[in-house]
Amino acid sequence: MEKGVPFPERIKIMLPPDPVPAGSESFTDSQTPQHAEGAPVVEAQAPVALAREEVARVSPPSPPTPNSPGMRRIAVTGNPNCGKSTLFNALTGLRQKVGNYPGVTVEKKEGSFFGSHGEPIQLLDLPGCYSLHARSPDEAVARDVLLGRQADTPRPDAVLAVLDATNLERNLYLLSQLLDLGLPVFLGLNMVDLAEEKGLAIDPLLLSDRLGIPVIPMVASKGVGLIALKQALSQATLPLPKKRPPFPAVLETEAHQLAQALPNHGAQLAEALLLLGMPPRQLAEMETLSPEFLQALDDARQRIQAAGLDPVSAAVDARYEWIGEIVTASVHRVGEPGLSISDRLDAVLTHRIWGWMAFLGAMTLMFFSIFTIAKLPADWITAGQQILGDYLQSVMAEGDFRSLIVDGVLAGVAGVLVFLPQILILTFFLGLLEDSGYMARAAFLMDRLMSKVGLHGKSFIPMLSSFACAIPGIMATRTIEQRKDRLVTILVAPLMSCSARLPVYTLLIAVLLPEVALWIKALIMLSMYVLGIVAAFLMAWLFKKTLLRSETPVLLMEMPPYRKPSLSGILMRMQERAAVFLKRAGTVILALSVLLWALSTYPKPENSNATGSERIAHSVAGHLGKALEPVIAPLGFDWKIGIGLIGSFAAREVFVSTMGIVYSVENSGGEPPVAALSQTMRSEKRGDGTPVYTPLTGTSLMVFYVLAMQCLSTLAIVRRETNSLRWPAFQFLYMTGLAYGAALLVFQGGRLLGWH
């Protein structure tokens, strides 16, 4: 290996501090200690820097580890925005699997790569966290996996900590906690190129020496340092950290003592330190601790207090003091920092006038793209459905089976697929906003407004996304840390008028006001959107005051520097989102579409020449519509509208085609032309000869559509994102109730005022 090293980097690997386990003697053969001073720090593009008492080696010849029989498992951890996911993607490529941790909606990303000797190494991408003192479900999962307390996830064999070199000081805080875990820790010092641009010269060798762990400088987005990293992680024995932050003596003693009372799984010291520093209120929520242990913990805290220290902040202070010394020693400013590009951009993007303009511009662009670009593939899907449907009509024998395939299965598949373009495009834009760092600015601008209803600035983007489609909007709530705030956002997001309501509004406005000017139509349309927004904010406020009562979440949000987004990372996320949607929501939607088809097909009328409207009237759906009439009559709706409402349950835009069937305005299987349909609907009379579609009925119906939960796909995704049936059920009930109440108010109130 020594000669003609195939790698661009010469590599040195740290020897384990512990006695080397039997079976790996071959690795200890070159015991010549080599002092770091002798080795050039900057060799090739990405050297592995090591602690001083190390031996230079070129990749060890033999494969897997003696201490773990199975595949080596490494947890990747780091602060948000440190480039952790970029590194994970760069290492694993497409060999990854996305799932969920059981019981929580925290994404579990696993992958694998081949080590230097061709052995597979498993990688677990932990959610980004700032500290092991968890403050969100994401951080709790990261902590529990590292401590070996996460039920379905075995404790990893080692930790790869990814640190943002441009923000070393704060990033080192989490690292200092990782050193207590009793696991080998590797430091992937990411974005060294950006640090250099920022005028920061980091000495990786010195850093490694001070921290007592291997440091691998890298630029994950460009693949720099990957080979060195892989080699470091492929060593036969992974070295344990040689250092820990020095704590005040009393804290250290108490932590060690407490650790002995904890179950022995290797992380007792880290756990003891976390428990000692845990704020009392959080400690009260820990149910697993025995009363004896809690007593011992309390005594320990009192002794710490007696020594003049605050148990909650003592460790934090000690860690930062240590970090400060390390940073002073290993990081040097070269040249004046000056005004960074980020600062200059922020001067505009968070400006009181330009900031709003840029924000509006970005949002307009996003929606414009969704409506225009997503429309194309959505039209192709509809066209493809029709071509395939026509083909099947022509080759299959007439009958129920053909109808099931064409009107049930095919329509269901198309109904699922038609959402994909929107989801993909929105995911793309959200990825751009997130990765570039703009998302934090949007939340910064909007936080004041959102905090008025008790929400976080971060709730704004999911709500905004829901104007296109509630599904990606609800998926975007994952960035919200507090569970209750996330739930509130999920519950109100579908009140924002999504693009599927657009055809319904268009049809109803055409029915109601065929002859008014375009701008009045636009105004009516706009008022429907405003109604949705007002309802969403009111309900959010109400939920925060009652059901999901909690204080307005504290905003502590990092404003990351602006960065160039990575296209491949965004494409990967799009692929993930699409897979999640198709797998989880798609199957449910398809099944229910078939059910809905059956409801509107059976039983069949005896007369085989019956028209579509006669057939649907005779079906279960027709009967349901009639059964529904007494309930919806106070809203001004008749049973035919009832059928439309039942059809809309699958998806709102189905209202238009259902109405087409009900009024026998059929157009060779496709969408009925709005003009013809609206004309037929306008001439529709009630029993007493008065028209069904008065402006009042129409308004009532539109208000109903603004507020009602009529989207199976959304319910399916809420079921997945909340991990329960309760929340989608509640959402369906409250929104339908709200819609009913509002429509009732409009219709009855309007009648009282003498309108019609």
Partner: protein, 85 residues
């Protein structure tokens, strides 16, 4: 030492620097603020205020953090000692 009345981070002017002197916040929030680098003695610069007057953005330990005025009011500050400038 204590002649100057310590003001809070919420009262800092844009561009001004100060040292963190203490907290009057719930212990959970205090801990997280400290973990994010706002430890006692850390130097902090007010970078900007959001267009609607809240939240604010501060620079600490080489990065930018935004927080609301309600929290900033609970972060006590002391003027930087001339020597440390």
């Amino acid at each position: 030492m204590n002649q100057t009345t310590p003001t809070t981070l919420a009262e800092l002017h844009i561009g001004a620097q100060a040292k963190i002197a203490g907290f009057t916040l719930a212990v959970e929030i205090q801990q997280r603020l400290m973990e994010l680098g706002l430890t006692k003695g850390a130097t902090c610069t007010l970078v900007r205020v959001a267009p609607m007057g809240d939240p604010i953005e501060v620079q600490v330990r080489g990065y930018h953090l935004s927080l609301r005025k309600s929290e900033a009011q609970g972060i006590l500050i002391a003027p930087l000692a001339p020597a440390s400038l």
